[in-house]
């Protein structure tokens, strides 16, 4: 099984090669002996996760999206790969300036993807075929489309779904086989629309329990933005009465959207589709990013944004300053910082409470 981290990872490649893959969410305490304590807590937790699941995980594909990810790769290559036969690949990710997709950027990324495929084929003894690629693309598009329907529900019926529940569905979709995900999500949507007929009712039922809010919230409508966050933070916001109506998180809505939903029939169009999606902070395209955030907040009627940054994350700490300047006059923003752990939530409680009172 191959682990991956960033939502720019073209998972279609793994599926096309028939390789099982799963996204690392770093739900374990951060590694302390491999990466320094003043370093991205998410990457440190991902190191722990891979080392913990060493029996299951046979390789990892890390995108060179920031130094935290690069050193995650370095740590795994040094500590995991030297003892076992372990696939380690660092995949470049070109930045696209000014919203333009320069030909050379796409071409460069296609060359990187081709190299990844070659190395995967060599390591795992699998073969690439256009037919399985098209099938994988189709399946993954369906997964993303189904996930977006939950986000639509979150917008249309605020307070029905738990914010953490929707993020949990994205997690589920990133960790399971696409066919299983499609069946479960369809079943779940059926249950939500009271149509029944789920193809995997048991799994859908259990997910449904986690998805629905048990209370009737009266608080303000909020969007989540920024770097990956602990789900405990989302629960805390809802516990205080906030209603999550959307997010623009890498581990959330952004995973569900590509630059295009149709016409992916080659590595070139796949690369283009990933590079054209609404960028994260790392891509250094803040006008486009803030434009999309503004639009999303408006569409979803958000009264405020909870902007989260992981401690020691340069991208979101710098963006926070910019956000304050560019967006805070239009929509109230609460900046929160965590170490990607549920610890310290009580300190955040007061700040969230004050923010909710302010925007109510």
């Amino acid at each position: 099984m191959i682990g991956w981290v960033c939502s720019y990872t073209p998972v279609e490649i793994f599926h096309a090669l028939g390789l099982r893959s799963f996204r690392l969410f770093g739900d374990l305490p951060p590694a302390t002996f491999h990466l320094p304590p003043n370093f991205c807590p998410y990457s440190r937790s991902c190191v722990s996760e891979v080392l913990e699941k060493r029996g299951e995980v046979t390789g990892i594909v890390v995108l060179a999206s920031c130094h935290a990810q690069v050193h995650l790769f370095n740590a795994l290559r040094h500590y995991a790969a030297k003892r076992d036969r372990f696939f380690c690949h660092l995949l470049d990710l070109p930045r696209v300036g000014g919203g333009e997709i320069g030909g050379s950027r796409v071409d460069y990324w296609v060359s990187c993807l081709s190299q990844l495929i070659e190395e995967l084929c060599q390591f795992y003894g699998v073969q690439w075929s256009q037919e399985s690629f098209l099938q994988a693309v189709k399946q993954q598009q369906q997964v993303r489309c189904l996930l977006r329907q939950f986000y639509d529900l979150q917008r249309e019926r605020p307070g029905l779904l738990r914010g953490g529940g929707v993020l949990g569905l994205v997690r589920f979709a990133c960790q399971k086989d696409p066919a299983e995900v499609i069946g479960t999500l369809e079943g779940l949507l059926g249950l939500l629309r009271e149509q029944g007929g789920s193809r995997s009712p048991q799994q859908a039922n259990s997910l449904l329990q986690n998805l629905l809010r048990k209370d009737t919230p009266q608080g303000p409508r909020l969007m989540l933005a920024g770097s990956p966050l602990p789900l405990a933070l989302v629960d805390l916001v809802e516990e205080m009465g906030g209603i999550i109506v959307g997010d623009e998180l890498c581990q959330g809505y952004r995973f569900c959207c590509l630059g295009t939903d149709g016409g992916i029939n080659s590595l070139h169009s796949l690369a283009q589709s990933y590079l054209r999606r609404v960028p994260c902070s790392r891509m250094l395209r803040f006008p486009e990013r803030f434009g999309a955030l503004r639009k999303l907040a408006k569409e979803r009627g958000a009264q405020g944004i909870i902007y989260h940054s992981l401690k020691f994350c340069d991208f979101y700490h710098y963006e926070r300053v910019l956000l304050q300047r560019e967006l805070a006059e239009e929509v109230p923003v609460l900046f929160l910082e965590t170490e990607y752990r549920p610890g310290g939530m009580e300190q955040l409680r007061t700040r969230i409470q004050a923010f909710l009172e302010m925007i109510c």
Binding site: F33, C40, L90, G97, Y108, S111, H317, L322
Partner: protein
């Protein structure tokens, strides 16, 4: 006499912002520097100071378009257009050495920049917000080796309302990657010429490339002379030449600095006192008034070499400037999977016959510090004693001076023990 000590003496008691942003300051200091040139240990230091002061004065006069460049951007492009590069990271080290950093950092704190970010960039953010840095015509950042600079420049482009150009550097060094970077460099060259209203002149760029090659060969000569035992020049002194490393490549005066230093080292070799320990220094050093460097010097440590001075790139081809600059950028050993840095550090440690390796872990640097534990483990596996010193190059508040000195002391004891047991790895 130390250049910064000289500058501090000149500027003591002045209002920092006013002083730093006045072209007159640099003109006066330049004149004073000329008078005091005999007091410097190396004439190269005087040449570097003169070059830096002239260019900084030029930047503040506003007569020539100023282009801010991040630390590892190939400035040959900027010199080749006859523009004035300004390296804010070097300016931050300079501000710190003059003792003015606290005010800039406080301003950055007020503006929302987290203390966990690199203090070089926070210092720039604060000084820029206070209006004390030369106004840029454009900002150019490269993405390799530093996540912070491209982000800060993005923020500052909005502050100054000027174009922001980005050089996106991949990790791989494939022909496709080289083409990708070369295309961007050509684009940046054209865009900068438009911004500055200058006609791009390939012969001027070829000249800058030629100067850059001279810089490279003189630096190699300096490095070769530094193999001598005892070390003819200290790494802590070499780390004061930041300006020529980050802003000078492509200018004849930067090449002249190391040309002069090579000649001086030739004559000066062997003049240092007997060294107790020879060290290899990784990353930068503290530029504030902390005691670490003084402590090491007093303890008889000689910084025989520092990775900053390592010539990692091949000579440039003036006929293919963009491709060869792309190759230069892509060949940086620290912007590769970490084994490459381990191999380079190991080779340098052997070449300079050091007793131990010190990694100065600058608090906000994700690139260098992020890999420090892996680097330490890999180098220890190769038999090297390694000390990771947690500190901050500029912000003393992020440093625990007692702990730093205690760790340094303990490390020297380890080195002493090893030396007594086997005579040091370099002598094996």
């Amino acid at each position: 006499m130390d250049l910064y000590e000289f500058m501090r003496g000149m500027l003591r008691g002045q209002r920092w912002g006013k002083v730093l942003s006045s072209p007159l300051t640099y003109q006066l200091v330049e004149k004073a520097l000329l008078l005091a040139r005999g007091g410097f240990r190396w004439r190269a230091t005087y040449l570097m100071g003169r070059f830096a002061l002239t260019q900084t004065r030029r930047a503040y006069t506003g007569k020539v378009p100023v282009v801010w460049t991040s630390a590892f951007f190939p400035v040959e492009i900027v010199w080749g257009l006859g523009l004035c590069p300004f390296s804010p990271e070097v300016a931050a080290a300079f501000i710190t050495s003059l003792g003015f950093v606290d005010r800039a950092l406080n301003r950055a704190d007020q503006d929302g920049y987290s203390r966990d970010l690199c203090s070089f960039h926070r210092c720039i953010a604060g000084a820029a917000a206070d209006g004390y840095l030369p106004a840029p015509a454009a900002l150019v950042a490269s993405t390799h080796l530093c996540d912070g600079a491209p982000l800060l420049f993005q923020n500052l482009a909005g502050h100054y309302q000027v174009p922001y150009l980005l050089l996106d550097v991949p990790y791989q060094s494939t022909p496709e990657a080289e083409r990708y970077v070369a295309d961007q460099l050509a684009g940046i060259w054209n865009r900068l010429s438009e911004i500055a209203g200058r006609r791009p002149d390939p012969s001027s760029l070829a000249r800058a490339i030629d100067y850059s090659n001279q810089f490279r060969s003189h630096l190699e000569a300096v490095n070769a002379l530094r193999c001598r035992v005892p070390a003819p020049i200290q790494g802590s002194e070499m780390l004061n030449y930041l300006y020529v490393f980050f802003a000078g490549q492509g200018h004849e005066e930067a090449a002249a600095v190391f040309g002069c230093l090579a000649r001086e080292l030739e004559d000066a070799a062997g003049c240092e006192d007997r060294e107790r320990f020879r060290l290899l220094w990784l990353h930068l050093k503290p530029y504030h008034r902390g005691e670490l460097m003084h402590f090491l010097e007093e303890a008889g440590c000689s910084i025989a070499f520092e990775e900053m001075s390592y010539v990692y790139w091949p000579p440039l081809d003036p006929e293919r400037p963009f491709h060869s600059l792309a190759r230069k950028v892509l060949s940086h050993f620290a912007y590769k999977p970490l084994q490459r840095r381990v191999a380079v550090v190991d080779a340098l440690a052997r070449k300079y016959r050091v007793d131990g390796i010190v990694h100065f872990s600058h608090w906000g640097c994700r690139q260098s510090c992020g890999g420090s534990l892996i680097l330490r483990d890999a180098l220890q596996e190769k038999g090297w004693p390694v000390l990771l010193l947690d500190g901050d190059c500029l912000d003393e508040r992020n440093e625990a001076p007692g702990a730093v000195l205690t760790r340094a002391q303990a490390f020297l004891e380890v080195l002493e023990g090893r030396k007594a047991a086997c005579g040091g790895m370099g002598e094996q």
